[in-house]
């Protein structure tokens, strides 16, 4: 049992906190809007080896664990870095498991992504990173297919300024089966729960800094207990979300029997917590929180957006319930 980062994980964290602070300051995040992608930043990130770090060394990857990748993802989330790290890493790991060619993906020359929602009639709607991905992996019926085709570059404007876009799959080829797909989606869920913790932590830090500085009624507004208590609730949930998110990643990494369950739970709780953090933090900025100029709005919008790439949250609860207590109509006989 070790519920804090190990020394090695701390070393990874320090490297990538530094990388994202230098290469993806908030000015870069803003400059990438509305498309939500910065190809120069992607090249720099690729040069660190991060996109392929959790692939075996035998294929040119970094041989790192999912846990190490999660440390990088937390930092990526905290900086809202406009590059599709999680989608690329998960899609590439999946393709590797299927024995599909990943030569152009390991080092990040090309970008891969996964359609989180099943494709319908040969098309995947609003695929995360779909605007910029050269390779799209998607579930189609009982198969999983791979499309090799450069992305359109832009997609519809959206709440989180995310590079989501529709992708036509008619020229895609089958690479795997639906069984293996579950694992890929769970990796996305677990890694995004960690990313949400990064986002929540940074959003909370912005709020805490702000209320220490902003003077009203002759005192810093952070002196008011109403504000302290809202922030304390956020900090408490965040600590809980952090422990659950990393436990889910650990469970996937070590093939624990409850890994899938924990991944689903971690994402829902992480998203709810990050949204709570951005809500409290924005509220305690007062009017400035609503202005484009202040950064908290960038966090608030992404906290809303990331989860919805997967679909309706209520369907995620329903999915968890089906696994836990059996589907509706089964009189609660566990599946």
């Amino acid at each position: 049992m070790r519920t804090r980062l190990t020394d090695d994980e701390t070393a990874v964290k320090e490297v990538f906190d530094g990388f994202f602070a230098n290469e993806s300051p908030i000015a870069i995040v803003r400059a990438a809007e509305p498309q939500g992608h910065d190809s120069e930043l992607w090249s720099k990130l690729a040069a660190t080896g991060a996109p392929g770090m959790a692939l075996p060394e035998s294929v040119g990857g970094g041989g790192a664990s999912l846990r190490d990748l999660a440390v990088v993802v937390e930092s990526w989330g905290a900086h809202l870095a406009p590059v599709p790290l999680v989608e690329h890493a998960v899609a590439t790991r999946f393709l590797h498991t299927c024995g599909s060619d990943i030569d152009s993906l390991v080092a990040g020359e090309q970008i891969a992504t996964l359609a989180l929602r099943d494709s319908v009639a040969g098309a995947a709607r609003l695929v995360p990173a779909g605007a910029v991905a050269d390779v799209v992996v998607a579930r189609a019926g009982n198969d999983v297919v791979r499309l090799n085709e450069p992305g359109p570059g832009t997609g519809p404007r959206n709440t989180g300024d995310l590079p989501i876009a529709d992708r036509e799959l008619s020229s895609a080829e089958t690479v795997g089966s639906a069984d293996e797909w579950t694992r890929a989606l769970d990796e996305w869920r677990a890694l995004m729960s960690v990313a949400y913790c990064g986002l929540g932590r940074q959003a909370l830090a912005l709020g805490v800094d702000y209320v220490k500085d902003r003077i009203q009624f002759d005192v810093p507004v952070g002196t008011f207990q109403a504000i302290q208590h809202g922030l304390a609730d956020a900090a408490t949930k965040l600590e809980g979300a952090h422990l659950l998110a990393h436990r889910a990643v650990w469970a996937l990494d070590t093939d624990q029997p409850d890994a899938s369950r924990l991944a689903g739970m971690a994402l829902l709780f992480g998203a709810e917590t990050a949204r709570f953090c951005t809500d409290r933090s924005l509220q305690y900025h007062g009017g400035y929180g609503f202005s484009e100029e202040y950064d908290i709005q960038l966090y608030h919008r992404r906290a809303s957006a990331w989860l919805l790439q997967l679909g309706e949250p209520s369907l995620e609860y329903a999915r968890l319930a089906d696994d836990e207590i059996g589907p509706i109509g089964s009189s609660g006989e566990a599946a």
Binding site: M1, R2, T3, R4, L5, T6, E9, R67, V208, V211, K212, P220, G222, T223, F224, Q225, Q228, H229, L231, A232, D233, A235, T236, K237, E239, G240, A241, L243, L244, H246, R247, V249, W250, A251, T254, L262, M265, L268, F269, S314, Y317, A318, L320, A321, E324, I325, I328, G329, S331, G332
Partner: protein, 388 residues
């Protein structure tokens, strides 16, 4: 990070489960309906295994169980709804004495608390002071070799079955409130003590205790004269660390699941097939996993020798607030049947959800209110200015 337990801790968990299956009976749980959350036979059986002495180091007469084993014991007891309040409090009292007690107390009292032959209780709160615990007014005055204690304590839970109370007193009224406090361990059969029951809205009872010229030798003092605040800090550290309270919800969720699967609504449908019920159940299970993360985290920190502070407050805040919400939602789920108390033979699972609903409000009050926890998180974790 690594969330696995070492094999010996997993083995211990199995042992605890088997022990509870063999020793914890429905009658013991039902017996708490008299208001006293204590099962003497269970306590004795646990003491016989050295489990009460579990967290206390071996060189101090304990069993030297690791923090991970302690959290597992705690978790399993709570999942089984074992009535362990008296045990939890007695371990804390023993731990306080081991850290601050005189040789007399370590030799004559601690072994009795650890072998289960005596029980202790907390005497901090007073009619006029609760959250502001350092404002205690119960007076202790020196008289020759003795101390004379006068005053009143409120909420001295379990005093009516305890042998000792660990009592917070004022020994210097003329200095800042934190600097004039002294602790004593008071045998409850000392002349001058009166114990009156305080009934509550739930099944549990508490007590008001009164101290009228209670005389004690100096060997009953705990810590330095006017050094009571240091002892109080130790007391709160142990209370938030080993006294449990991280898993109040699972037995309620089990009951809710049972109800949802077996009850039939007027239209013939089952609650379990209602998506809103299913979502509530899933949310409550997520909250339990969050509590598990907190519990394992504090234990793991303790095991590493990292003293935790604010993590204990976060755990308590999250566990108690979510528990209160679960009780409300699941009583609502049962509709009118959710109102039926344990007094009725046909109450669902002995009226478990109803009973928890009435118990739940106290969990965000005792052991440090939610507001006090939030203050501690705001100050200690976020570095916001002190407001008091």
């Amino acid at each position: 990070m690594d969330f696995s337990f070492p094999p010996e801790v997993e083995a211990f968990r199995t042992e605890v489960r088997e022990f509870l299956a063999a020793n914890l009976t429905d009658e013991m749980i039902a017996a708490t309906h008299d208001g006293t959350i204590h099962a003497p036979e269970l306590h004795a059986a646990m003491a016989a295994r050295g489990w009460i002495a579990g967290p206390v180091p071996e060189e101090l007469g304990g069993a030297g169980r690791s923090a991970l084993e302690s959290v597992v014991l705690n978790e399993e007891m709570q999942l089984a709804a074992a009535p362990v309040d008296a045990m939890a409090v007695s371990i804390v009292v023993a731990s306080i004495l081991l850290e601050h007690g005189s040789p007399h107390l370590k030799d004559s009292v601690v072994p009795r608390l650890l072998d289960g032959s005596a029980l202790g209780c907390f005497g901090y709160s007073e009619p006029e002071s609760g959250s502001d615990v350092a404002a205690a007014q119960t007076k202790a005055v020196r008289d020759g070799d003795e101390w004379v204690i006068n005053g009143a304590k409120m909420w001295t839970t379990l005093a009516h079955i305890s042998d000792y109370v660990i009592l917070l007193t004022r020994t210097d009224p003329d200095v800042a409130k934190h600097k004039g406090l002294t602790f004593f361990l008071v045998p409850l059969d000392t002349p001058g003590i009166e114990i009156q029951p305080v009934p509550t809205m739930a099944v549990e009872r508490s007590n008001a205790t009164f101290y009228d010229d209670v005389r004690l030798g100096d060997e009953w003092r705990v810590g330095d004269v006017n050094g009571g605040w240091a002892v109080m800090k130790t007391a709160l550290k142990y209370e938030r660390g080993i006294a449990g309270g991280q898993f109040p919800s699972p037995t309620v969720i089990d009951a809710a699941l049972d109800w949802a699967q077996t009850a039939e609504r007027a239209d013939g449908s089952r609650p379990i097939d209602d998506p809103t019920v299913r979502e509530k159940l899933m949310r409550s299970l997520i909250d339990v996993e969050v509590c598990r993360g907190f519990a394992y985290h504090t234990a793991s920190l303790a095991e590493e020798g990292v003293m935790f502070g604010v993590e204990g407050s976060m755990t308590k805040l999250f566990a108690s607030e979510s528990y209160k919400r679960h009780c409300r939602e699941f009583q609502d789920m049962m509709g009118v049947d959710g109102l039926i108390t344990h007094h009725n033979d046909d109450a669902h699972l002995g009226g478990r959800i109803e009973e928890n609903l009435r118990h739940s409000p106290v969990t965000t009050i005792y052991g440090g209110t939610s507001e006090i926890s939030r203050n501690l998180v705001a100050e200690g974790h976020l570095g916001l200015p002190r407001t008091r």
